[in-house]
């Protein structure tokens, strides 16, 4: 239906949305949030609990209405429509399957409410059951199937009416690790096969990185950064984002030059390195920089190295080893090295070492 639309046309346009929950104390759940979700993309809202990601999802679904601002779906304002008038479906965290109906009855419910004819409905139900590989359990009661199977039924039920956007509220959090991994791949496949825009809410950074086309990292009712998983991981522009996704080394440095979106920083050792800058670049002067633990390597002590220090601790993780180092500036720094056969024992606790930094590894932070 929408196949000839350009890839990046906007599905959901959240415009300066603020949500305040009034109660004993007023809670500012969303603080002037603006974000665009593109057609056919797997978009993830990532953040710790209480950051406002579920509130934003509920506003898109229609279970809550914005205190201020607007939400548009394909250009039309849906901010004040009730949920049953929005061509958007939700997969709930606890699945919210109807316990008094069968698997097929659950999947059929939305189609029936839309006023589809019986024959068309049964055809869609069968197609959905095939899509989530649940054909054999068609006539089972919801109470008679496992958690993983309920998850599939919840997906089929939400996909059956072919919504413009599918909202997923931490749908994998109740599953065990193995099933969760399977469902991550499954969800990606479903999104690809159906061509429906997915908005996925999670607090799990790995889930966000592996599944998403783009990720919005949220904290305290604000969106801090939006970008591809690689962007978010390699070039976090905010200390919170860097800390929330993966492990980080933060250092003090001096920004000496800014040109064409690239910068040059000077470390305490005097070494100068190229650095990526956040979109609203800070002025020349003291800044915080980020270097990921795996973007640095240990070498023998050398006076020319950008960073030097001594090894405090070595932690073996199977696939890799973490070296905890105290730099000469007494800042802490972690280096992660992938383990190779026969590499054991190259460095010992207490060794004086230097560090090399890979090109494009330095990111200047906003603060």
């Amino acid at each position: 239906m929408n196949s000839n639309k350009p890839e990046d046309s906007v599905a959901i346009d959240v415009q300066s949305v603020t949500k305040i929950f009034k109660g004993e104390t007023e809670v500012l759940a969303l603080d002037d949030v603006s974000v665009q979700v593109r057609e056919n993309e797997f978009f993830t809202l990532l953040g710790p609990s209480g950051c406002g990601k579920t509130t934003l999802l509920r506003l898109i679904a229609g279970f809550e209405h914005p205190t201020d601002g607007r939400i548009k779906l394909h250009g039309s304002d849906i901010s004040l429509l009730p949920p049953n008038k929005r061509p958007v479906n939700t997969v709930f965290q606890n699945y919210a399957l109807f316990p008094h109906m069968t698997v097929a009855g659950n999947i059929e419910f939305g189609l029936e409410m839309m006023g589809q004819a019986k024959a068309e409905r049964s055809a869609t139900v069968d197609r959905m059951l095939a899509l989530v590989q649940m054909e054999e359990l068609k006539n089972r009661r919801i109470t008679e199937i496992s958690g993983g199977q309920q998850q599939r039924v919840a997906l089929a039920r939400a996909l059956a009416p072919h919504p413009k956007v599918l909202l997923l509220d931490e749908p994998l959090s109740a599953l065990d690790l193995k099933l969760r991994k399977e469902m991550q791949i499954e969800l990606k496949r479903l999104q690809h096969e159906t061509g429906i825009t997915f908005v996925f809410v999670t607090h799990d950074q790995e889930e966000a990185l592996t599944m998403s086309d783009r990720v919005a990292v949220m904290s305290a009712g604000k969106i801090l950064q939006v970008g591809s998983p690689r962007d978010i991981y390699d070039h976090p522009t905010d200390r919170f984002v860097a800390n929330f996704i993966g492990e980080s080394n933060f250092l003090n440095a001096e920004l000496t030059k800014v040109s064409k979106g690239k910068g040059m920083i000077k470390l305490a050792s005097g070494a100068e390195l190229d650095a990526s800058l956040p979109s609203d670049a800070p002025a020349v002067g003291p800044v915080s920089i980020l270097i990921r633990p795996e973007h640095s390597q240990l070498t023998k002590r050398s006076s020319k190295a950008p960073l030097s220090g001594s090894i405090d601790n070595i932690v073996y993780f199977g696939t890799d080893t973490h070296f905890h180092i105290t730099l000469e500036t007494s800042e802490a720094f972690t280096v992660r090295t992938q383990n190779k056969p026969g590499f054991e024992g190259a460095f010992q606790i207490g060794d004086q070492v230097s560090l090399t930094i890979e090109p494009d590894a330095v990111q200047v932070l906003k603060d």
Binding site: F63, A96, F98, P99, H100, F109, G110, M113, M114
Partner: protein, 272 residues
């Protein structure tokens, strides 16, 4: 058994010495009088204490007694009407107190709804007697309305408790899911909320029905002359010569109550 293995096991009241004995004595004290009452309803003689052989004569006499018939039918009609109105009110109260976010004054509402359980029945009865007397003088109306209103009022909390319990066990996101799947608020109620809460409504109705059927204190105070219910009729009989006819009527009431309570537990245990 070693001390170590004793300590490892969780505490259970069943392992306290004498548990079984105490349980048997308790159940005996509770049910022995009832069993004797039922047994003597089959007594061939007129005595409540001396067994003179098996007979259904008191049941026949009770059924043939026009006063018993009238009181019995009145009790059934009263219980049906009062329990129905009380169940409708309790269902609405249940929905209002469980299907929305907790609102200010919700605890006060719970207390108000459940107040009839706390206030001594005799106080309610006297209050109603005085209140209805004023209305009777003002309007001249003498009909069954007073009994229906009084029974409905004290049946509401009994109907409310199982309905609320059922609704509290029901996930709020079910209605959200229905709305999300294009159901209007009315269709959401009809297709999702009502079918899931139905066992609670049935249980509430049956509990209210039994409570109304068994009530004596409030009925005695509120009824106008000639409006005997089965329990008030029996109370009246006890003031005269007591025959096993009272046992027979009691046994029938008991049977109805047991049936309804059993149904109540059956419906409540069928939680999905």
């Amino acid at each position: 058994m070693s001390i170590a293995s004793l300590l490892q096991r969780p505490f259970s009241v069943k392992r306290i010495p004498g548990f079984a004995t105490i349980a048997i004595i308790t159940f005996f004290c509770l049910y022995a009088p009832v069993i004797i009452l039922v047994a003597y309803s089959f007594n061939a003689g007129t005595s409540l204490a001396i067994w003179e052989g098996f007979s259904l004569v008191w049941y026949q006499q009770a059924i043939a007694n026009e006063a018993v018939q009238a009181a019995g039918l009145r009790s059934l009609a009263l219980a049906s009407i009062a329990a129905t109105i009380a169940t409708v009110a309790a269902t609405m109260a249940g929905l209002a107190t469980t299907r929305k976010r907790p609102f200010k004054g919700q605890t006060a509402v719970y207390t108000l709804i459940n107040q009839p359980l706390m206030v001594p029945e005799i106080v309610t009865a006297v209050a109603l007697l005085i209140f209805f007397a004023i209305i009777k003088v003002a309007t001249g109306y003498q009909g069954m309305g007073y009994l229906i209103v009084a029974h409905t009022a004290f049946c509401i909390p009994f109907a409310y408790l199982p309905i609320r319990a059922r609704l509290q066990g029901m996930d709020l996101s079910l209605e959200r899911a229905a709305a999300d799947l294009y159901a209007t608020p009315w269709l959401t109620f009809k297709r999702i909320t009502l079918p899931i809460m139905a066992p609670g409504i049935m249980a509430g109705f049956m509990l209210a029905f039994v409570i109304s059927l068994d009530d004596v204190v409030i009925s005695e105070f509120v009824k106008t002359p000639g409006q005997e219910t089965l329990p008030t009729y029996m109370l009246g009989q006890l003031r005269r010569v007591v025959t096993p006819e009272v046992n027979a009527i009691s046994s029938v009431l008991l049977a109805i109550s047991i049936l309804f309570v059993a149904l109540f537990f059956f419906l409540n245990s069928r939680r999905s």
